[in-house]
């Protein structure tokens, strides 16, 4: 069973014909070529596939494609500025050495963005709670938490 769905992807409306058993991550990666969203476990444990739907971080590997109809989705591809410059959170990850292999990074950054968008002054506990569902197997979490803290502080100053 196939259906045409339309949703907002990184600010632009997209229409795509999807299978009933496809997950959002399948549509993003295979049909829309947005390969910044990674599939790690495929079971909602690792968070590599995290995207933001209507302001909330979700695992795109556990999100039926049919359910995204009419919703607004942000992926890592949607974060760069008009001249392809990195967003504040991305830049902060680079500066803090919060990236090693990079596979978990898009998910980490989207979880961080969803947090900072809803809480401009997150405590370390808030940050660790928001990133609990994002596993990193390279760097450990100290630099990542530091990067989110610094990004939040910088974004708050900008406001």
């Amino acid at each position: 069973m196939k259906t045409e769905i339309s949703f907002i992807l990184n600010g632009s409306e997209v229409q795509v014909s999807v299978h009933s058993h496809h997950r959002l991550i399948d549509v993003l990666r295979k049909q829309l070529g947005q390969t910044g969203t990674k599939e790690g476990c495929g079971e909602g444990e690792c968070g590599a596939c995290t995207v933001i739907i209507d302001g909330r971080a979700v695992n795109s590997c556990l999100y039926p494609a049919f359910e995204v109809e009419g919703k607004s989705v942000t992926t890592i591809e949607g974060l760069q500025g008009p001249k392809n410059e990195l967003s504040v959170i991305q830049q902060s990850f680079v500066e803090q050495g919060a990236i090693q292999c990079g596979f978990c990074t898009p998910g980490m950054i989207l979880s961080a963005k969803a947090l900072i968008d809803s809480n401009s002054d997150p405590s370390e506990e808030d940050i660790r709670d928001a990133l609990l569902g994002n596993l990193c197997r390279c760097t450990g979490y100290v630099q990542i938490v530091e990067a989110v803290k610094k990004a939040a502080a910088q974004l708050k100053r900008k406001k």
Partner: protein
């Protein structure tokens, strides 16, 4: 992913019609457990009937009786200011369920219907004596939540039945309830978890409700532990006795998360600590 059809009925009536029409189809809420089950070849439904687009099924109303729609997400519960005020124990359990990404999608009804002995939301509902409302096309019934769970992965839901609402009577001012969970890390399934609710008048315990998770085939009420607290002026001695009884009255198994013995020990410890905390709160 195995293939399946996916329907988004816009009313309960439409959901039941589809259910009747497609043998083996399953109702799905947030899907964070069910889609993993499909991926791992544990279940093979030909069609999923999503309840997510049915209006009102995810709403939370806090009037005389609090009604939580079964499709309310765990995050909806955490963010609801009235629930935080009236049922902090429910919000605390919600905060301990899975990761942010899971909480944003998983629903309270799904957590219950999945029937896991470690269902985080079951324990606060058990101690607050919640009722569940179950509906079919022609029938509606309400039952106490302790009659809902029937075994690992099993509930009393008939195949055409939909859990639509969770109902809670207003708490009394003297009610203090505590949720505690022990897992390897917070987002893990619990090794053991407990909820303790005490209704206190001064130092006297008018009512005690205690439930434990991950230590029996179902989320379990510990009525023998409750009995030693009720009607008593509570002291440290009662907390210690409750610890011993809790340890002896659970029926855990050994699995990848823990051994039977450790589960017994930790359940006792959690029950004692939760009683102590509830007493601290009631004296504050």
């Amino acid at each position: 992913m195995k293939q399946f059809e996916y329907y988004k009925p816009l009313s309960l009536g439409e959901a039941w019609e589809l259910k009747k029409k497609i043998p083996g189809s399953l109702f799905i809420a947030g899907g964070t457990d069910m889609l993993v089950g499909i991926k791992n070849n544990e279940i093979h439904p030909p069609a999923l009937l999503s309840l997510r687009s049915i209006p009102g099924l995810n709403s939370i109303e806090t009037n005389e009786v609090t009604r939580i729609g079964a499709l309310a997400t765990i995050s909806d519960i955490i963010r609801n200011p009235e629930l935080k005020e009236d049922f902090p124990v429910l919000v605390e359990a919600a905060k301990n369920l899975g990761s942010m990404q899971i909480r944003n999608v998983a629903t309270i009804g799904g957590n219950l219907c999945n029937g896991s002995p470690c269902a985080d939301m079951a324990l606060p509902l058990l101690v607050m004596e919640a009722k569940v409302r179950l509906q079919t096309a022609n029938d509606k019934r309400e039952l106490p939540i302790d009659e809902f769970f029937k075994g690992p992965g099993k509930s009393c839901l008939a195949s055409h039945e939909i859990l639509t609402d969770i109902l809670l009577d207003p708490p009394s001012k003297n009610t203090k309830a505590v949720f505690m969970k022990k897992g390897r890390v917070k987002m893990d399934l619990a090794v053991a978890s407990v909820a303790v609710r005490l209704d206190m008048e001064g130092s006297k315990c008018l009512k005690a409700r205690i439930a434990a998770g991950s230590v029996a085939p179902v989320p379990l009420r510990l009525s023998k532990v409750e009995a030693v607290l009720e009607g008593e002026a509570l002291t440290q001695k009662h907390a210690s006795e409750a610890q011993r009884l809790a340890k002896d009255n659970v029926i855990p198994i050994t699995d990848i998360r823990s051994t039977e013995e450790y589960r017994r020990q930790i359940t006792g410890v959690l029950v004692k600590r939760a009683i102590e905390r509830a007493l601290e709160w009631s004296q504050a």
